[in-house]
Symmetry: C2
Subunit: 250 residues, 2 copies
DNA sequence: AGCTGTGAACAAATTCACAGCA
DNA sequence: TGCTGTGAATTTGTTCACAGCT
C-alpha cells in the first residue's frame, strides 16, 4: 500500500472473540482520507462478512485469500483487490486473522452498532421479514411493524404489535429510524416512500415491484423476487436450446 | 442495425392485446445468429417488461425511449442501447409500440410459455413465496411445495399441499421442472441444491444465506435479504458522517 | 423535425502477474 | 518460500453524440 492510510486504527487490542457488538475505545467509523470504495466491492463485503463468521464459528483462526474466497464464492484476486480498498489487514506469507478481518469489515459496513428499522406492509412477505433472524443477528433491529389495514392492527407478529401506518412519523422521530422496508403492494409503495422520506428516513429497501422516485440523498435498493426468476428463465431458455414446454399445456 | 438479423421474425400479425401467453404461429425462441445479450442488459429486461405492462394497463399504445426509460428508472440512452441488442423494434421519429415491444421482450426472456417451479422450505419465507402473485402473473407456475418437516405435510399453502422433500425427484421428473427455489435454513441449502441438481433442475433461486456449489451448466441466483440492508447501512453511515446511534442504547 | 439505433469515447470492474514483505 | 497488496492489462458496462430513417 502506498498512499492510503487506514487512519485512526492501530491494529492492536482490537480483536475480541465477540468484538462485533461491543464498543471498544476508538472511533467506530473509518473516515478514510480520500479513497472511496467501489460499489461492486461494497456489495460483496456482506458476503465476506458472512463467510468470515462461518469460519469463526468453525473454529478457524487464520485463513488465506484463497480459502476465504472459496467460502465466499469469488476468486481470490477479486477478494484481495476488494480488501485492499479497506486497508492492509492481512499478513504477507501468512493470510488473514479471521476475527480481526471480520471486525474490520463489520466496522466498514457500519454493523458495529445497531440500526433501527421499520417495516411497512405486513402481508405474507412482511411477516416473513419481521421473523427473519438474519436481520437481528446482523445488527438490524425491527422497531415497528406498520400496516394501513385496520384489521391487522394489534395483531402480534414476531413479538411486535402491528400498528397503524399513521404512527410512522412518530416512530421514526422518537427512535431515530434511518432505514425503512417497504413490503406493501405496488400501488401503495410510492406513497409509503414519500411518507418515509418526509418523516426523515434516508434509506429504503423496496420489495414492491415498482420504481420509486425519491429526492437526492435518499438511497433506495430494490428486491424483486420475480425479476430474479426471470433472469434464470432467460438463461434456462438458452441452455435447453429450445423451449422446454412448447405448447405442452397438458 | 447493420449485421444482426432478428431471424425468423416478421414484424406483422404478431401484436395482440393478450399476446403474451397465446402461442402464435412462429418460432418462440429468438435464436439470434451471433449476438449475445450482455448480463447487465438481461438483468434490466424484466424491469422494462414491468414498465411496459404498466403502460399497457394505463392504455398507452406508443411511447418514446424517454418515457419508457422514465417508467423503468433508467436513462434513455441505456434503454435504447439495451433494446438494440434485441433487435430493431422501434420506429425512428415515432417511438415504440408498447404492446409489440412487450411481446418481444417477453419472448426474449422466455416468458411466452409457462415455467413450472418447485419451492423447497415452507417456513415464513416459503409461505410468502408460494403466495406471491408476481410469479404466476409472469409465467411461473408453482407446481409443488416441499418441506422436510413431517409436521408441515398436508398443510395447505396457497392452495397447494405441502409434500415430503423426498418426492422431489418424482415431481421434477414428471412435471419437467427446470427451476427450483430454495427457502430453507442455511444449513440445509447445499443438500437441497445437490438433490435438485441430481433430479435434473438446472436453475436455482437461493434465498438461504449461504454460498451454493453446483456443477457447470447449473445457474444459481441468490437473494439475501440482509445483504441488501447491509449495503444500505454502509451508505447510510457515510451520509450521516458519523454513527447514528453511537452508544445510544437508551 | 423528431426519435431510434449505434459507433466511439469513457468509466467501472475484473483479472493478470508480480513486486515486496513476513 | 508463500502469501498479500497492487499497478497494468483486459473486459464489461455506460454515456455521448450523431447518422439515418420515418
Amino acid at each position: 500500500m502506498t498512499s492510503r492510510t487506514p487512519a485512526g486504527e492501530t491494529p492492536t487490542g482490537v480483536v475480541r472473540a465477540d468484538g462485533l457488538r461491543s464498543p471498544v475505545g476508538h472511533a467506530d467509523v473509518p473516515a478514510r482520507p480520500g479513497r472511496e470504495i467501489p460499489e461492486a466491492t461494497v456489495a460483496r463485503l456482506p458476503v465476506y462478512l458472512r463467510a468470515l463468521t462461518a469460519l469463526v464459528d468453525g473454529g478457524t483462526a487464520t485463513c488465506s485469500s484463497e480459502e476465504l474466497a472459496g467460502a465466499a464464492g469469488v476468486n481470490s484476486a477479486k477478494l484481495r483487490k476488494d480488501l485492499s480498498y479497506l486497508g492492509s489487514y492481512g499478513t504477507r506469507g501468512v493470510g488473514y486473522d479471521v476475527d480481526y478481518l471480520r471486525y474490520q469489515i463489520a466496522r466498514e459496513i457500519g454493523l458495529t452498532h445497531d440500526w433501527p428499522v421499520v417495516i411497512v406492509g405486513i402481508g405474507n412477505l412482511g411477516h416473513a421479514l419481521a421473523n427473519y433472524s438474519g436481520f437481528r443477528s446482523r445488527g438490524f433491529r425491527v422497531v415497528a411493524l406498520l400496516d394501513a389495514a385496520t384489521t391487522r392492527h394489534e395483531e402480534l407478529v414476531a413479538g411486535l404489535e402491528v400498528r397503524p401506518f399513521d404512527e410512522l412519523e412518530d416512530i421514526v422521530g422518537t427512535q431515530s429510524v434511518a432505514i425503512g422496508v417497504i413490503a406493501t403492494p405496488a400501488v401503495a409503495a410510492q406513497d409509503v416512500a414519500d411518507r418515509m422520506v418526509a418523516a426523515g428516513i434516508t434509506s429504503i429497501l423496496n420489495f414492491a415491484p415498482t420504481v420509486l422516485s425519491v429526492p437526492d440523498g435518499v438511497d433506495v435498493r430494490k428486491v424483486d423476487l420475480s425479476i430474479e426468476l426471470q433472469i434464470l428463465a432467460y438463461h434456462e431458455q438458452r441452455k435447453t436450446g429450445q423451449l422446454p414446454t412448447e405448447g405442452a399445456s397438458a
